[in-house]
């Protein structure tokens, strides 16, 4: 059903919009910003912040644009003198009890009160009364800090816990100027999506515990990316701090925020995806190493030459049946294509293992989280590795390794040693050649013959295919660490060396 389209006037300009659309939405579509706190497309329009007031021709007083619907012949003014005065007065009321502790508030720089004061306020305060003080610095959950003084009581957070997570941990208590937001008795804000309340909060009332006092937001650069922590492929924005490395304990990635995509994640991001970013600055590989027969650092060219010649020698002597490849769904589509060209087309390898380990499976729910905690199993399946998922199981691989049937093991980003635990070093000492390729060192990185540093997805451009088959691009947010290079370029380097040798042999 399509709504009837009607014409109405916004600031004197005649526009067309579906009948019944909210004026605030119609204005946004026309590029006119109306200040607002309580209204959110996903959370409804309680109309309690009174900031989106506009002048409507014929109406005796200002109307809230988040509860006024577009109708034929409606005339709205968002920037007339009465409208501007009404908006500024609303803002002044919001700031009556606000502590104005912007210097110590993590929200400053991205705060609704600061932004709207500069755009729509600019009044001289008439308030002479003492401010109402409430409780500050409350840890209301594992990820969120609450400051009741800074709250503008827009109820976005309470409506989020009520409508989206349906957990209702937060509520509004008290009346009048003593009203405050707080946890419901006996509750803690510990649902799997609690971080979203921080994004929703237009002011500094709810802030990230993880990000607290780490970096000022104006030092951060933003890069559009895709979350790689499950197969949903939520759209995210990576906030990186590279210009002032002394902040945030030297971490390059400071925080992850969701990007709106109505078809994938809407406005949300789960806490696993939001707070799992520290791994990108921990235990990373930056140097190409050969550990066996003796430990040395190598240049890429030397390492690829040595590895290619050893692969060729073993292949000719023992055949491709003894080469097992373990990969994870963390490879991009570009990596998968090069992976196929190298392992299947050039080497003729038949033993692949992609099945997620138990540690790669997690909780699934009906909002965002998926069971497979890797981003791109689907991209591999699209290239024909779907059936190969079953060709080798973890038990089978273990048995074959013990029986000595495998001469070569190529592990890509799957830290098998951590999974195998105590028997890992015995298992990994059996093959004549063990290659570890990935962004992290892990335990396998200490037991392999070759250790090849690959970039993490935040350090390269590429595409992931999510569980629905949706292909999404991500962008390079940071420079690769040390010698690290994308997985596809490693496969391609090896393939070219083997191909050249085969040609020469012919």
């Amino acid at each position: 059903m399509t709504a009837k389209r009607v014409t109405f006037k916004l600031n004197g300009v005649t526009l067309e919009a579906p009948e019944g659309q909210l004026v605030i939405e119609a204005a946004k579509a026309a590029g006119v910003e109306i200040p607002h706190y309580c209204y959110h497309p996903a959370l409804g329009n309680p109309g309690n912040c009174r900031l989106c007031v506009v002048e409507v021709a014929g109406a005796p007083k200002p109307m809230v644009s988040c509860r006024t619907q577009v109708r034929e012949g409606l005339e709205v003014y968002t920037d007339s003198e009465p409208a501007r005065r009404a908006q500024a007065s609303s803002l002044e009321l919001h700031l009556v009890n606000h502590p104005l502790d912007c210097p110590v508030c993590d929200q400053s720089g991205e705060c609704g009160l600061q932004d709207y004061y500069m755009k729509f306020g600019r009044y001289d305060s008439q308030v002479r009364e003492a401010k109402e003080h409430k409780r500050k610095r409350l840890e209301i959950g594992p990820h969120v800090m609450l400051d009741q003084e800074r709250c503008v009581l827009c109820t976005r957070c309470t409506r989020f816990t009520e409508k989206i997570t349906k957990t209702s941990e937060l509520g509004i208590f008290g009346r009048g100027h003593k009203e405050f937001v707080d946890l419901a008795p006996g509750q803690r804000l510990d649902n799997a999506y609690s971080g979203n309340t921080v994004d929703l909060c237009p002011v500094g009332a709810l802030t990230d515990k993880d990000f607290r006092f780490k970096v000022r937001v104006w030092y951060l650069d933003q890069t559009p990316s895709i979350c790689a922590d499950c197969s949903r492929g939520c759209n995210v924005s990576l906030h990186t701090n590279t210009k002032r490395p002394w902040h945030d304990e030297g971490r390059r990635l400071a925080r992850v925020k969701p990007r709106h995509n109505p078809e994938v994640n809407q406005w949300w991001l789960c806490d696993e995806g939001r707070y799992g970013f520290k791994k990108f600055d921990e235990d990373r590989l930056g140097r190409v190493m050969r550990l066996i027969p003796y430990r040395r650092e190598l240049a890429w060219e030397t390492a690829l030459d040595e590895l290619a010649s050893e692969l060729r020698r073993e292949l000719e002597a023992l055949g491709p049946e003894g080469l097992a490849v373990v990969a994870s769904g963390a490879l991009s589509n570009e990596d998968w294509a090069a992976f196929k060209a190298f392992f299947v087309d050039a080497l003729g390898c038949k033993r692949f293992l992609f099945a997620p380990q138990p540690d790669q499976l997690g909780i699934e729910d009906d909002l965002l989280r998926r069971k497979e905690k890797v981003p791109n199993l689907e991209g591999g399946k699209a290239l024909g590795f779907g059936s190969a998922v079953a060709s080798l199981s973890w038990e089978r691989l273990e048995a074959d390794l013990e029986a000595g049937k495998i001469w070569g093991l190529y592990l890509i980003e799957r830290d098998a040693a951590r999974f195998w635990g105590a028997k890992a070093s015995a298992l990994l000492s059996k093959p004549r050649l063990v290659v570890w390729q990935g962004p992290w060192k892990g335990r396998t990185g200490e037991l392999a013959h070759f250790r090849l540093p690959a970039t993490a997805h935040i350090e390269e451009d590429g595409h992931f295919t999510n569980f629905e088959g949706r292909i999404q691009a991500y962008q390079k947010a940071l420079e690769p660490l040390g010698q690290a290079r994308p997985d596809w370029s490693i496969f391609e380097g090896l393939r070219q060396r083997l191909g050249a040798a085969q040609k020469a042999a012919r």
Partner: protein
């Protein structure tokens, strides 16, 4: 950052400048004028007739430098009445600093109303351009540029970095020693 290059043309050397003697006499005229003007001014003042003061040579460094009342000198971090640092680590000085010589990291303050305080606070005087923006930007009046110290030279660049205790005069600045490996 790419350096910009400005080409400055040297003044052309005419016959008059190449002879040199004329230029020497022009210089002597200037010197003599200063001598006579200052002699006249000092003499007037000595006779109690007033008038503008004559120039005086200050025997710096034997005599201390005379600084203006509003001279911007080395930074000082101020304290509250209870002795704790005033700084709340808002990072506005670090943000405004055009030389990027201030480095602050923050932590939670044990006092609830203060909420945030500096964990580390460093100023690299080797980078500082003494513009005074940091003192201007500070919302809590925690940083001043009025230590009235201008002799800040050190033997190594690292010694030019002052930390929080040193800027608050809680700890004397470690004396700089010549580096063994320059």
């Amino acid at each position: 950052m790419a350096a910009t290059v400005a080409t400055v043309r040297r003044p052309e050397r005419t016959l008059a400048t190449r002879i040199y003697l004329i230029e020497v006499f022009r210089g002597l005229v200037v010197t003599t004028r200063h001598l006579l003007v200052n002699l006249y001014r000092h003499a007037r003042r000595a006779l109690g007739l007033g008038g503008p003061a004559g120039a005086v040579t200050i025997q710096y460094p034997e005599d201390p430098a005379r600084l203006g009342a509003r001279a911007r000198t080395r930074h000082r971090l101020l304290k509250r009445d209870d002795g704790s640092p005033r700084c709340t680590a808002c990072l506005l000085c670090e943000t405004i600093c055009p030389a990027r010589c201030i480095r602050i990291t923050a932590e939670d303050s044990p006092v609830e109303v203060v909420e945030k305080r500096a964990k580390t606070f460093q100023i690299d005087l080797g980078l500082c351009v003494f513009c005074g923006y940091c003192a201007e930007a500070c919302p809590v009046d925690a940083i001043h540029m009025d230590a009235n110290k201008v002799e800040l030279s050190t033997y190594t660049r690292a010694d030019l970095i002052w930390d929080m205790a040193e800027l608050m005069d809680d700890k004397p600045k470690r004396p700089s020693l010549p580096s063994l490996h320059p």
